[in-house]
Symmetry: C2
């Protein structure tokens, strides 16, 4: 059972500063932390090592950071990601920045937590492609520097487990926050933080209906959603337009692929707007190259409206105001082994 530490204080902040009518709020300082995986400095550092360690892939060449680059956009900035042996994934890599605030993970919300999410790509045959959990654990267990660190962080007789690998990675990911976007500064009272265009865009996304779904601190759904409760919507809704065919927006069946339920066909988690100006290309298939085109597509496919170019420009200006500060980080130093070659690939 996972409890959220910060839900109440986040809501209070939202009510106090923005008011419920806006359904917009500044990014809370800290994301929720599950009670069974508290943050510690040593666990975060271990998680950072694992996040950057390509030995967790069958080829020894792909790490979490390969597709979720924390020196940049938190994505790989390509249409769909490339895994081991040049294999091409089916969906665009979501940004890891502020993922800790989301109530579910993956495009279809099939993982409840960052911990659950971290376990996926390592075993996905077109991503990191480890044959099974035990193989991943074996790789880490064969590196004495890791065993020491897992012992220090998790204790017990058998600290190197797949669960603990995921816990450490998730703890690191909970530090991947981009605060102080112009929008956040605006919400905290600096009314000059937004340009007139961005202010018009902020009003417009509410007036035309974008924020019916893109609400809350990450603009990915209501702030009140509990962890594990995905905020799902159908996409595309309006099919009779050229965007759907040009960008092949209705080919992927969405959440149906993981649940097999007809009701989940073309259902998707509402994606965050945080840093969306940086995370081109857009949509689950990465088919749209620019933010202005993505805004046009959304207007037509979700609201059945044709936004004017002036409206698009204002909305883009607002979305650009949601770009936060990428934090300075130190590089991890990966535990190394002397004189033996330990992974399976190549």
């Amino acid at each position: 059972m996972i409890h959220l530490r910060n839900t109440l204080s986040s809501m209070a902040l939202a009510l106090a500063v923005a008011g419920p009518a806006l359904a917009m709020e500044a990014l809370p300082e800290q994301p929720p932390v599950p009670v069974d995986n508290p943050q510690t400095a040593a666990k975060i550092e271990l998680g950072k090592q694992l996040y950057f360690d390509p030995r967790l892939s069958s080829s020894g060449t792909v790490s979490c950071n390969s597709c979720h680059n924390v020196m940049a956009t938190g994505t790989d900035s390509i249409r769909t990601s490339v895994g081991v042996e040049g294999k091409l994934g089916g969906r665009n890599a979501p940004t890891v920045w502020n993922a800790a605030y989301l109530s579910s993970q993956f495009w279809d919300g099939r993982a409840a937590t960052l911990e659950d999410q971290a376990k996926g790509p390592i075993l996905n045959p077109i991503e990191m492609a480890m044959p099974d959990e035990d193989s991943a654990v074996e790789v880490i267990r064969a590196i004495p520097g890791y065993v020491e660190r897992f012992q220090a962080v998790f204790g017990g007789d058998n600290p190197v487990t797949y669960d603990n690998i995921a816990k450490a990675i998730a703890s690191y990911e909970r530090t991947l926050i981009t605060p102080n976007s112009p929008f956040d500064n605006y919400m905290r009272g600096d009314k000059k933080a937004l340009s007139p265009e961005a202010e018009r865009g902020m009003k417009l996304v509410q007036d035309v209906g974008c924020t019916a779904c893109h609400s809350g601190p990450t603009f990915a759904g209501p702030a009140t959603l509990a962890t594990g409760q995905p905020f799902l919507q159908r996409f595309p809704i309006f099919l009779d337009n050229e965007y759907v065919s040009t960008y092949k927006l209705d080919v992927d069946p969405g959440r149906f692929e993981s649940t097999g339920k007809e009701a989940d066909r073309h259902m998707w988690r509402v994606p965050t707007w945080r840093n969306v100006a940086l995370t081109a290309p857009y949509f689950h298939n990465g088919s749209v190259d620019t933010l202005d085109e993505a805004v046009r597509v959304m207007g037509k496919t979700q609201l059945n409206i044709e936004l004017s170019e002036a409206q698009v420009a204002d909305i883009v200006a607002f979305l650009e105001s949601l770009t936060g500060e990428i934090p300075q980080q130190t590089m991890p130093i990966l535990p190394m082994t002397s004189g033996s070659w330990i992974h399976t690939g190549n």
Copy 2:
């Protein structure tokens, strides 16, 4: 024309501490710096950004760091490197750590400088695979944050050039130094820094003849070699042993491949011993998994001797004493673009 700043002081240090008879010396504090590419903090930071930027590859997925990982061994720790689209290279990635001290670059010494070396993989069709220099320059020039930084570092009307990309990367690489190995501490007077095994190994590598080639501060050749003067040796020399066939050591024709000269067939640059305990797998084709086996192979193929297991263990202990300190680094933050997708691949 490139001049070496530190050659004289390095030599003086070597003579003073180790004496020429040993042909061994501690790692000089700073590597040579070419007069036409002086080190500056801004250039080093720009070079670090470029070193980590996968946009310099045709697929947008491969950076310098993909194969020369500065959070670990300075290599990719696999047999031969993986480039764009999962393409497999023909040779094992040499470590970037302390490459700045080497008198030539690449396994066959075909690049005179780090600047020359940096230009290779970006255009190599099985590595980063940019179609030509102009394409690489175009990618960088399309990113306003880079244009600003190149302007600040290099000035002039046209600061983003392929030469300047290489200069910045090389400047960063000149900071990739691993000081204070047990051996270095020993050479500076701490006689307890080496174990008895390592001390025996140090004597042994001189007695049996390893240091005829593996000499100088990096154990990659004489300290007196000017930049651009590769220290080449034939490998393998003695062919009538099982190692040559088992590990396919004579398949790759070495420097012949780049020069086409018969005299260069099976000629290779002498590789560094610095951090060699970390840089498995071994040899140009990455065919040997462990350091002890690599030592056996070298004894047989280069000196035609069968080292005893005790001798191998002592030599390995000495080689392990050449593992230096991996420096703490900050992560670069790559210049990002808003709302447009700029590279060519995928």
